[in-house]
């Protein structure tokens, strides 16, 4: 998932390449042959859906034509059928809720801790001396490599799972928020100083809004990392959750259930990224006006 296509998400709205052409009278038309447009041109409506739809078509045709063995990859409609059955039995919702709850807890703790650490280390030299080193070390160790240790410490229950997710989430939040805090233009600091602004007010009005773009960028990474870690912890040891459902299906060779699980993961990832982007665009509307 490209969690970073911050600009790509808004850039296609720029209509200059084509709209300008409409304003040019036919007489001026030849000018165009001389100038080569470097921009990409008009955006395709719902362009993002074309690729996935094409895949779906190929998959369907392959299934109908018998080119794809149903044991390797069941037909789209049988996957949909399986999903309906799972929902009717209440299993899918149950696993989904468990997974979502785990991810949400890990995300909340990770975001809170990451933000607090970033603020402490971003706003004081001492804080940075104490916090930044350990976080960088933690960053160098893949979170998933910590799972054996976390299992020994926290057992194999929910605590271990939420901790693993939180540890993975905290890193991007910390890194992005911290660097955004530190790169706030010193000219604004000067301004606040000449306006005799108090420290608390300065943090609230200058530092926090200035760090918000970094925080949101970190959050978009964080959401991706949360799902990623969720998948792993659920397959390591779990008795419920989408990952457990997939793992169980693997034991019985139920490819259709595995596909349902993967589709659910994809939808969760896309939906949560969409939610973050929604809030990002709303809180950073002062910036969006630039791209419009």
């Amino acid at each position: 998932m490209n969690a970073f296509s911050n600009t790509a998400a808004v850039a296609p709205n720029i209509p200059y390449a084509t709209d300008e052409r409409a304003l040019i009278s036919p007489a001026a038309e030849p000018r165009e042959t001389g100038t080569r447009r470097l921009a990409l041109g008009r955006t395709i409506p719902f362009g993002a859906l074309i690729g996935p739809a094409l895949l779906l078509v190929i998959w369907s045709i392959g299934s109908i034509a018998g080119l794809i063995d149903p044991r390797t990859l069941p037909a789209p409609w049988s996957v949909v059928g399986t999903a309906i059955d799972l929902i009717a039995e209440g299993k899918l919702q149950h696993h989904l809720m468990t997974s979502a709850w785990r991810a949400a807890q890990g995300l909340v703790f990770g975001v809170l801790i990451g933000t607090i650490l970033a603020l402490i280390s971003g706003l004081s030299r001492l804080g940075e001396a104490i916090i930044d080193g350990p976080v960088q070390i933690k960053r160098a160790i893949p979170t998933l490599a910590l799972i054996p240790l976390l299992m020994l410490w926290f057992g194999i229950g929910e605590g271990m799972k939420v901790t693993t997710i939180a540890l993975a989430v905290l890193i991007p939040i910390y890194i992005q928020t911290h660097s955004s805090l530190r790169s706030i233009d010193s000219r604004y600091v000067e301004l606040a100083q000449t306006l005799r602004m108090g420290y608390g007010e300065f943090i609230r009005q200058v530092i926090l809004p200035g760090a918000l773009p970094g925080f949101f960028l970190g959050l978009r990474f964080a959401v991706t990392y949360a799902w990623l870690s969720l998948v792993v912890v659920e397959q390591v040891n779990a008795t419920s959750g989408i990952g457990y459902m997939i793992d169980l299906a693997r034991n019985y060779g139920q490819t259709d259930i595995i596909i349902v699980g993967l589709v659910v993961y994809a939808l969760l990832g896309l939906a949560s990224d969409g939610i973050v982007r929604f809030f990002q665009e709303r809180s950073l509307s002062w910036r969006r006006t630039l791209a419009d």
Partner: protein, 248 residues
């Protein structure tokens, strides 16, 4: 402008005595002394690198990391207009004007200040939606809404085109006549200095090399003979030779 030179006397608002500022081995300001009267408009000229900004920053209390000595008295109520408008991009225009102003009637005063600079109706715009000149007007409103006794401005119009700059001169003159702050305006532009100021200083070699009172009645005409004389006098102090002004 010259009108409020006479009547207002008393202790100067700004008093600088033997101010020294050093960057490493280089002494930029070397025992500089300067007084500014209440409500007086002083323009500061000087070659690039002569220490104009250093002097202004010393007065804006922005140089705590710079080594130096000297006595410096400035009023608490002072505000600074920078070369860039320096608006916070995440605050709307009105919020920028009253930024850091902790008063119950802040919003109302902000609106009035925006009206004074001709920007009423734009209160809710984002800074990126304004032109350079409009942004600088917002910065001016932000300074004036605090009713400063001293307005410090470091080439506030340097980034504006010539036409906008002339408009800003008129605006600044009107606003200063109304609010009567003492002004220290750093500029490169000799005409700007002579048009606006009651007194023009030339900074050179770490001290005040020239201190010229402008005795031309306002509004001042660039074509005026006296204007031309003062201009060439200042340019000589700045090390630029000019042809003698031809009598009309």
């Amino acid at each position: 402008m010259a009108s409020h030179l006479g009547g207002l006397s008393g202790a100067p608002v700004v008093r600088v005595e033997s101010l020294v500022r050093r960057f490493g081995p280089r002494t930029i300001l070397d025992g500089l002394s300067l007084d500014i009267e209440r409500g007086e408009f002083v323009a500061l000229l000087g070659r690039s690198g002569s220490g104009k900004s250093t002097l202004l920053r010393a007065r804006a209390d922005l140089d705590d990391k710079v080594s130096g000595s000297g006595r410096l008295e400035t009023p608490d109520k002072k505000s600074v207009v920078f070369q860039d408008a320096r608006l916070l991009p995440w605050k709307r225009v009105l919020e920028n004007v009253v930024f850091g102003l902790d008063l119950p009637e802040a919003a109302e005063r902000g609106r009035v200040a925006l009206e004074e600079v001709g920007l009423s109706g734009r209160e809710n715009a984002w800074p990126v939606e304004l032109s350079g000149g409009e942004q600088q007007r917002v910065a001016l409103a932000r300074s004036l809404v605090r009713d400063p006794e001293l307005l410090l401005a470091d080439e506030p119009f340097g980034a504006l085109d010539a036409l906008t700059r002339l408009r800003m001169h008129d605006l600044l003159r009107q606003l200063c006549a109304r609010h009567q702050p003492a002004v220290l305006l750093v500029t490169h532009d000799v005409d700007e200095a002579v048009t606006l100021a009651d007194r023009v200083l030339v900074l050179d070699n770490g001290g005040i090399a020239a201190d010229i009172a402008i005795d031309i009645p306002t509004p001042r005409d660039h074509g005026d003979r006296r204007f031309g004389e003062i201009r060439s006098q200042l340019l000589r102090h700045l090390g630029v030779e000019t042809k003698p002004v031809l009598p009309v």
